[in-house]
Symmetry: C2
Subunit: 441 residues, 2 copies
């Protein structure tokens, strides 16, 4: 791991810090055109295009008959999976569901001047959960995407996940889907799978919103289809930043950094500390552990690409560095983690204290593990129930209320040169509104 | 206006209804490549690219010195604008602010098993308000975009609006910006203006989120920059749908339809009624009024393009038609409008009763007038305070809490083949967790 000293006045312009700060930029350019073409073909040719791309990219023969996972297939899977795995998945579903219940929102209104003004909250009709296939097929992803949709009250939650090389879908993902309340599963993925559920085809239904992580093709397809459907966020490689002081256990910190690094060669693992001893001991532990891990090839490349230790003046300076990087996961491994909460502005999820390792949150503490990456924690939120509802404004004005605001409305309409807007107020007004005509400016 | 009879069993497949239902699709294809190129050039060349495009598209000479609207220019404008216009804008700002205060959200947490789990709510650091220039420069747009950002607590709200042909910016928009609390104003627009505030240039600051309506170039730039920054929604032409019964006043209904049609040749004006008399009388009134309006050329083209009356079986059928179309604005001009609220699922804003004409809401009732168009009310919400905050999950686990969940975490990590994830739980566990190893499925 590279050690970068930020104990200097111009620390914010440090090149290593800025390389990490801008990690989310400029990945998409070269893929844009081919993704736009895939989308256009799926829009025009439906199933024919989707099945063609599945053959080409995923080496699998899909048909209208086999693209949907059958109830029998799901039942068979439950018989094959170990009971203790089913129990653990059940516990995760329960805990995630319990936490997300607190995110439900109510319709509301206020009254004034004979008016009723408010917002009506309605769940989306349908949502599509994208679950990556192949090696990166994770049942926890299914739970974290599907449960908030179901808690929000979405009637039809469908899951798409690519079958690659064969028709088989990860059995634990199927179990997680069933236990999370997913209504239908389709074994299709990639940009073509995303386009399929954005437009609907003869054998795959259209949804109102698409959520869930995927590779660059999936991320771009979601972005380009934003507007046609809603999407959650644009997800990039996973990342962790750990703020540590002298009370942190360097071995625990090292393991947590590696639990991010083992995901992906582009994953980011950052340690920020004002304690040199913690810094050096953690680096040593990372190097030791790297030799033993099963996924050491991936983890090693990830640490070489992005693994960085930042040395700071003090723990508040460490928080400032964290805010600049805006990490997906932030662990605060310090003596008094809650004392720093006010200083932390930008992070997808904040894990406080020495026992709160990120992997607990990845699986079953309750809060969502779908989190903003690449610095987008500056403006994006964790996936939640709020992602699966929409609001409609409610406006009611009595005759009395109308009379209080109609003349101002007519004046503002005059200013904007929208005659019929003003006429709508004037025509309802028995007193025939008189308003000053605007002078030309 | 075309009259379409939906009093048939297969009304949902009616071609006129479906043309309107799919009105939001497929506009962008031919503009994508040029917008991607503009974005790439602004990213690489900053001010040089932005000022070059302003010269080319807006025929205006921008420099680092004149791109920002000065405080003096704003003060001068206040002296020129009529006092009653300033008063009306002030009233609108106050009312919109008062309504949006109710949308503020609190951080929250729950406790269980020695754990603290919750979400921290933080306002975005900065936001950029896009305000269209030229003829479509509306002070109400400024208010509706800026006020929710300021209520959310965003410290730096900047406005961009294109100066076209000369350096002049609409004076009412400047007044509205100042009174709404906008911090800085830049006279730049188009796809290049959007890219400028997404990346930041030497003379224009970067923001975290970009909101506000614009033409197809602006809409596409926002879409392609989604992820680099957050955006609100992809806005299209404005539209109104009016559900009316025999208690509606045909002349009032006609004016309200035209107050949408006068916006834009592509605006949509739809009447849905089970009362034939109301239908025919409204069409007559529309034709009469069309002859008199100042903006009759635009309104007439708009009515020819999209103006439609749908005849239905009854008022509930009318609500179903509205849900299929999912209009931006929905007026319910019936005897008992609140009785239908439960039947209405998809609409940006719902105006209840005969006196609640859309233009009241456009200007100053309080709810936001930035609303989802093109059918996207199925999944998008009105702009609100919730668009200018973000959430961070909070997780704290005591040693006791850790012991309740650590073994399940290790098991789930084993299932997903993520060794270090499991190790993070195992290494903290004094009892050394034993979990069944998964069988291969």
């Amino acid at each position: 791991m590279k050690i970068v000293d930020l104990r200097k006045s111009n620390w914010e312009s440090d090149p290593d810090l800025n390389r990490i700060k801008n990690r989310g930029q400029g990945l998409e350019g070269k893929y844009a055109q081919s993704v736009l073409e895939i989308i256009e073909n799926v829009r025009k040719y439906g199933d024919t295009a989707v099945f063609g791309y599945a053959k080409k990219f995923d080496r699998v023969d899909l048909t209208p008959e086999n693209v949907k996972v059958s109830e029998i297939e799901i039942e068979e899977t439950f018989k094959k999976v170990e009971p203790e795995a089913v129990e653990a998945i059940k516990l995760a579903v329960e805990r995630v569901k319990r936490f997300h219940e607190h995110q439900k929102e109510n319709s509301y209104f206020v009254t004034e001047d004979g008016m009723v003004l408010g917002q009506k909250v309605t769940p989306l009709d349908s949502a599509g959960i994208y679950v990556p296939g192949g090696k990166a097929s994770y049942p926890s992803s299914v739970i974290m995407n599907a449960v908030p949709a179901k808690v929000a009250g979405v009637k039809k939650v469908i899951m798409v996940t690519p079958a690659i090389g064969s028709l088989k879908v990860n059995p634990y993902s199927l179990v997680a889907a069933k236990l999370s309340g997913v209504d239908e599963i389709y074994r299709v993925g990639g940009a073509h799978g995303v386009a399929a559920i954005a437009f609907g085809t003869a054998s795959i239904p259209k949804v109102d919103k698409i959520v869930g992580p995927g590779n660059i093709y999936v991320a771009l397809a979601k972005k380009f289809l934003f507007g046609q459907v809603d999407i959650d966020m644009v997800a990039g490689p996973s990342e962790i930043l750990i703020i540590a002081d002298e009370t942190a256990n360097p071995e625990w910190v090292a393991v947590d950094l590696l639990s991010q690094a083992e995901h992906d060669e582009l994953a980011g693992s950052f340690l920020v500390t004002h304690d040199e001893k913690t810094a050096f001991e953690t680096v040593e532990k990372v190097n030791e552990l790297l030799k033993k891990l099963k996924r050491k090839e991936i983890a090693k490349k990830s640490i070489e690409n992005f693994g960085t230790v930042f040395l700071t003046e003090n723990v508040k300076h460490s928080c400032e560095v964290a805010n600049v990087i805006a990490p997906e996961h932030l662990e605060v491994a310090t003596k008094e983690p809650f004392a720093l909460l006010d200083n932390i502005k930008n992070a997808g999820a904040i894990f406080l204290g020495h026992y709160t390792c990120e992997s607990l949150g990845d699986y079953l503490l309750g809060p969502n593990h779908v989190l903003p990456t690449g610095g987008s924690a500056k403006f994006f939120s964790p996936l939640g129930v709020y992602d699966f509802i929409k609001r409609s404004s409610i406006l009611y004005v009595s005759k009395e209320g109308f009379e209080k605001v109609s003349s101002f409305t007519a004046l503002l309409a005059d200013i904007e040169g929208l005659e019929a807007h003003g006429l709508a107020a004037r025509i309802r007004d028995e007193k025939k509104i008189k308003v000053a005509q605007k002078a030309d400016n």
